[in-house]
């Protein structure tokens, strides 16, 4: 922990106070959303009820009637969890092989994989929609899971690769001497040692899947629509219903924000691809 030497009494108080103010300013929009969710739609737009109002839970209890929240939430949970698992299933072996048996092409393959992330989604959206429609998988959870897996695969491989790279090779070699198979290496050595890395990769991919809007909104209409579709679809005509809009927004981001709080450090470290220690 780096601590800048404090010189004056003033800076001892002023900088922490400023840090607190900045943090509160950044958090304010989220606080305001949660706060507004406890107001009725009528109260939410009245200046006289800005801070003093009678809190109500009706926006939450009516969420199912107003928005059919649970259908969207179920789709979000199922697609995000499945895509995360599928993504790990493909990326863990790949990253393992790249980290422990790198060949001359490994670096280029990794670079190429990251470059697929640079491919603008809009450029390939319509072929995907046509293909999904002709295969009869448009607006199914299957196609959402597939696309979420594919768009997050490069990031997953990169993150896992950087975690695996830090594991000393000697341990793996010792395992090989002891006659472990490849599967044994993965199970007995890699997973226990890289558990933290795998877990934070999984969490980050889950968050990206949950928040993904571009693909999920455009590949679904009703049956497989996720929470992103719910929010994006309801914005305009609901402009006046700040109370219920806040409630459904809170319900859409709440689980992820809380999840993020618990693992912020690992998540950010993972996203730097190990280049920032």
């Amino acid at each position: 922990m780096a601590i800048v030497a404090e010189t004056t009494k003033f800076s001892k108080v002023a900088w922490p106070v400023l840090a607190w103010i900045v943090a509160l300013v950044f958090f304010f929009p989220i606080f305001w959303m949660v706060f507004t969710s406890f107001k009725t739609d009528a109260d939410a737009v009245k200046p006289e009820f800005l801070f003093r109002f009678t809190p109500t839970l009706e926006n939450y209890t009516n969420m199912t009637d107003n928005y059919d929240y649970w259908r969207f939430a179920t789709n979000s949970i199922i697609t995000s969890v499945s895509a995360t698992l599928l993504c790990l299933f493909v990326s863990v072996p790949c990253a393992y092989a790249m980290a422990f048996n790198p060949s001359r092409g490994t670096k280029d393959i990794l670079m190429w994989m990251l470059s697929t992330k640079m491919l603008p989604a809009a450029a390939v959206l319509y072929p995907m929609i046509f293909m999904a429609k002709s295969l009869g998988i448009y607006d199914t959870r299957f196609v959402v899971i597939l696309v979420l897996t594919l768009i997050n695969l490069p990031i997953a491989i990169w993150m896992l690769f950087t975690y695996f790279k830090d594991i000393p090779k000697d341990i793996i070699e010792a395992g090989q001497m002891d006659g472990l198979t490849t599967w044994g290496e993965v199970k007995e050595i890699l997973v226990p040692l890289a558990w933290g890395g795998i877990a934070s990769t999984a969490l980050l991919i889950f968050i990206f899947c949950w928040n993904e809007a571009y693909w999920t909104v455009r590949l679904t209409t009703f049956n497989a629509a996720t929470l992103s579709t719910l929010i994006e679809g309801n914005r305009a005509p609901e402009g006046l219903f700040f109370g219920r809009l806040s409630a459904v927004s809170t319900a859409a981001v709440g689980p992820i924000v809380v999840l993020g709080w618990f693992c912020q450090k690992q998540l950010v470290q993972g996203l730097t691809f190990g280049a920032v220690k």
Binding site: M1, W15, A23, F26, P29, L50, A97, A123, G260, L271
Partner: protein
């Protein structure tokens, strides 16, 4: 041979999946970009099915190239991405330096600061454009109304009343308007991504060489020159990472643009593609290929920069 075969085998699924993911839709887009392909046409129904007989050559590219919206979209894409990068890096460095000390509640400050990063982009846009920026019902409208009331009250006050009579009425800004909608997008995305920059820079600052810093203090280096010659160079690599990851995400910004103004005044390339694709798939595909070229230009620089640091 067997020792090399297994690693290959383990990589195959990922490589094959990504190869298909990249090649199949992209070659279809490339094909569509060279043919006349529309979704609805009563005059030329044969154009509604993709086929080589509707070959148009570079016609779609020409059409897009000569379309004013295309240049506007490129301009908007670059303005939005560059402004966000500029703001998040500056704010990120400042806040990271500010928070990089021990004080009561540091843990809570970190938690509060990172929160916006986890908010769904659609919720971010809905929240900002309605509840915060709306000129009548949002906090902006309420704040401007409050200030006007305050000034109005002070006008009748003795002594200072004359001074406040000179003040104009403030009018709230509509962020859905053409002139301001790009600013709204920049604002909300900066809010969301500054925390990401802060946490990365903070992580990096914690590994800064303290002995070097103490030596600099003993030598009488000012706070500013410590920052300029020690801290800032130390942050070079994290800044590169922040720029790369954000560029990946912001070049394909869509939800925010759709929700703020449906592309009026802040239309970027992905949004323009969506507009073309309402009917003209050929033009949409040609725009898509242009977007791929633009992304590649950006990617070549960024990947080079980051690639070097990553394999060490």
């Amino acid at each position: 041979m067997a020792t090399r075969a297994i690693p290959r085998l383990l990589q195959t699924p990922a490589v094959v999946l990504l190869l298909i993911w990249m090649l199949v839709p992209l070659s279809m887009t490339l094909f569509y970009s060279f043919i006349r392909y529309v979704l609805n046409s009563t005059v030329r129904p044969e154009w509604t099915t993709p086929s080589f007989s509707n070959w148009r050559g570079f016609g779609n590219y020409q059409f897009v190239w000569n379309n004013d919206n295309f240049w506007l979209a490129i301009q908007n894409s670059l303005i939005i991405v560059c402004s966000i990068l500029f703001l998040t890096v500056i704010l990120g460095v400042l806040i990271a330096v500010l928070v990089n000390r021990s004080f009561p509640g540091l843990g809570i400050v970190r938690v509060l600061l990172i929160s916006p990063f986890f908010v769904m982009p659609a919720v971010n846009a809905v929240l900002w454009i309605n509840m915060i920026l709306d000129p009548v019902l949002g906090l902006q409208g309420l704040a401007v109304g409050g200030i006007n009331d305050l000034i109005g009250g002070l006008r009748n006050a003795p002594l200072v009343g004359g001074f406040f009579n000179l003040w104009p009425e403030f009018s709230p800004v509509s962020f859905r308007a053409t002139q301001t909608s790009a600013i709204a997008v920049i604002m909300m995305v900066t809010w969301q991504w500054t925390p990401f920059a802060v946490l990365i820079f903070m992580t990096s600052l914690q590994s800064e060489d303290q002995q070097q810093k103490e030596a600099a203090i003993l030598d009488g280096a000012s706070k500013w020159s410590q920052f300029r010659f020690l801290t800032l160079p130390h942050l070079g690599r994290p800044i590169a990472i922040v720029v790369m990851i954000q560029a990946i995400f912001h070049l394909s910004l869509y939800a925010e643009i759709e929700i703020v103004s449906r592309g009026a005044g802040n239309k970027n390339l992905p949004y323009l593609i969506g507009e073309f694709a309402n009917n003209n798939i050929g033009a949409a595909s040609a725009t898509g290929i242009f977007a791929v070229i633009l992304a590649n230009i950006v990617a070549i620089f960024l990947l080079r920069m980051v690639g070097k640091t990553l394999m060490e």
